[in-house]
Amino acid sequence: MELKELLLESLTTLTLNKVRTGLAMLGVVIGIGSVIALISLGQGSQQSIETQIKSLGSNLLTVSPGSRQTSGVRSSGRVETLTLDDAKAISTSTKITTVKNISPEYSSNAQIVAGRNNTNTQVVGVTPSYPNVRNIQVSSGFFISQQNVEAMAKVAVLGPQTATDLFGEGSNPVGQTIRIKSLAFKVIGVTVSKGGSGFANQDDRVYIPITTAQKLLFGVSYLSSISIEANSETVMMAARDQVGYLLLERHKIKDPLQADFSIMSQEDILGTATQVTSTFTTLLSGIAAISLIVGGIGIMNIMLVTVTERTREIGLRKALGAKRKIITAQFLLEAIIVTFVGGLIGVFLGMMTSYLLSQMMGISFAISISSIILAFGVSVAIGILFGWYPAQKAANLQPIEALRYE
């Protein structure tokens, strides 16, 4: 028997009972749709996080005080192991050959007042190399200069978000005065928006000279981090080693495992973020896959009812010469058509949902061909898996029993 004829028979039967076919299909549509939507949303948010982390600066290494060691006893609380001298040593040492720029930073949150407006935001003490390392531009005015740092000047550069919060939309704060912890600072510039949100929002910041931050504002002598820009991506590992050994030497630590600082590359941060999102994606897709299985059981249920209902027809077909495999094929094909068409609609609806949600959440929209192919494969497999038993039941009917059935 030709496949075309078999297909025609199956399609005829399916269209005779549109409501039932539609309901059977719905389970697969919802299952495949949610799997596709969740995988796509996961991939989209991963992409967004990647671009955000990459926008922090290229070839970036971050030295943080404290250690990543998880075993052993180590005091928590204030970590004061990195100093401005460490940063100076990195930039002047002859042993360091792979570092292009270095930016020591001290950041802390503070209340900032301008006129009647006030906001609580992150105040970052920086040096002039900060914009290069962190990939930041100034839209109006100037950034912190070397003279500002040396003179411990009370000048500030605002992030665009902070500028709006303090001075209102569209105003130019350059030349105005703000008060940080009751000290007056003159605004000398505003940075370009990087469009960040929530996670590591670089638009909601106030930059001041590092010396001013340490001595005048917060009264500390240590750094919260040192950002290092390597010469190129290929020397990242070398840069990390050179900086690491120099700091170990300066801190008089012999065992690298006992280090009182840690060096993270963007890849590390990216890796952690990716791990988190992919765990969530897997988890949610797993839940969606359960709904797919439930949909498959729904199809089996309906197919079993169909076999009982069509007992007479099956008997007749057998009497007219249909062999077992033809009856099996026909019922199996019906199940596969339902799941395949359901999968098709599901992929489409899932992509639509993902697109709308990613627009609403402001993350990028991504969908991989492999996940679509996988979804189709799974839907056809579900058709075969859950169509098999009803099809066997139909093929095993004895023609006389079937013909006698009322």
Partner: protein, 240 residues
């Protein structure tokens, strides 16, 4: 053509054994029109199922066209039903909401016949039973008599060795029943072998030979000969 030797069929329901057929033997020659008569429960339906290769006997032999049918597996039986037997059922058993043409084509589809040939034959047999103008009507748009004629066209489509009819007029008004019998007699004249199961003596008289069966045994087997009621004023004369 058909040769049945010491055929028995025993049904077991719990401890009770029921002999539906008890040592039945007879032969049907090519070109015969035989009616098998008996009241309900006589075993005539069981006999018809075995003759139609729908069921296997408990003991005895059944030869169709010289081949022993009792020893075949499911798929071989399906092939026999497809190629050698044309069924006409009491309840017509057409596929619902399917055109007359496609209903006639079903056995040919199972036989793997090419589309052009299928179409040609289906139209030819529909014409033979006087329904060429109804070829594209769905089965449920046809009257009982018309549906049974479609079923006859379907039974003929594979040019089977025997035409097996189970109460073919049981659901049809007497006027149309006569038309069906007329078609059977015409087919018989053209050389088709017909075995018809019926409980109705008024239908049995259209056949050449009547086998009476009761309690699973043949009680008489007589040539209808001169008593055969011939229908000549045929309204269906579209033979080609």
């Amino acid at each position: 053509m058909i040769k049945v030797l010491h055929l028995s069929k025993i049904y077991k329901t719990g401890e009770v054994e029921v002999k539906a057929l008890d040592n039945v033997s007879f032969t049907v020659k090519k070109g015969e029109f035989v009616a098998i008569m008996g009241p309900s429960g006589s075993g005539k339906s069981t006999l018809m199922h075995i003759l139609g290769a729908l069921d296997q006997p408990s003991s005895g032999n059944y030869f169709l066209d010289g081949a022993e049918v009792g020893q075949l597996d499911d798929d071989q039986l399906a092939e026999i039903r497809n190629k050698k037997i044309g069924f006409v059922f009491q309840a017509y058993n057409l596929l619902a909401r399917t055109t007359a043409l496609r209903n006639v084509m079903v056995p040919m589809i199972y036989a793997g016949m090419v589309k052009e040939e299928r179409l040609k034959k289906a139209l030819k047999y529909l014409n033979m039973v006087g329904l060429s103008d109804r070829a594209y009507n769905a089965s449920n748009q046809l009257s009982g008599g018309q549906q049974q004629r479609v079923a006859i066209a379907r039974a003929l489509s594979m040019n089977p060795s025997i035409l097996l009819a189970d109460e073919p007029t049981g659901n049809i008004a007497s006027q149309q029943a006569e038309e069906i019998m007329e078609i059977f007699q015409d087919l018989n004249k053209r050389g088709h072998t017909i075995v018809m199961i019926t409980h109705d003596p008024e239908i049995a008289v259209y056949s050449q030979r009547i086998i009476n069966i009761r309690d699973g045994k043949i009680i008489n087997d007589k040539n209808n000969g001169r008593q055969q009621k011939l229908l000549t004023k045929s309204k269906i004369k579209k033979w080609n």
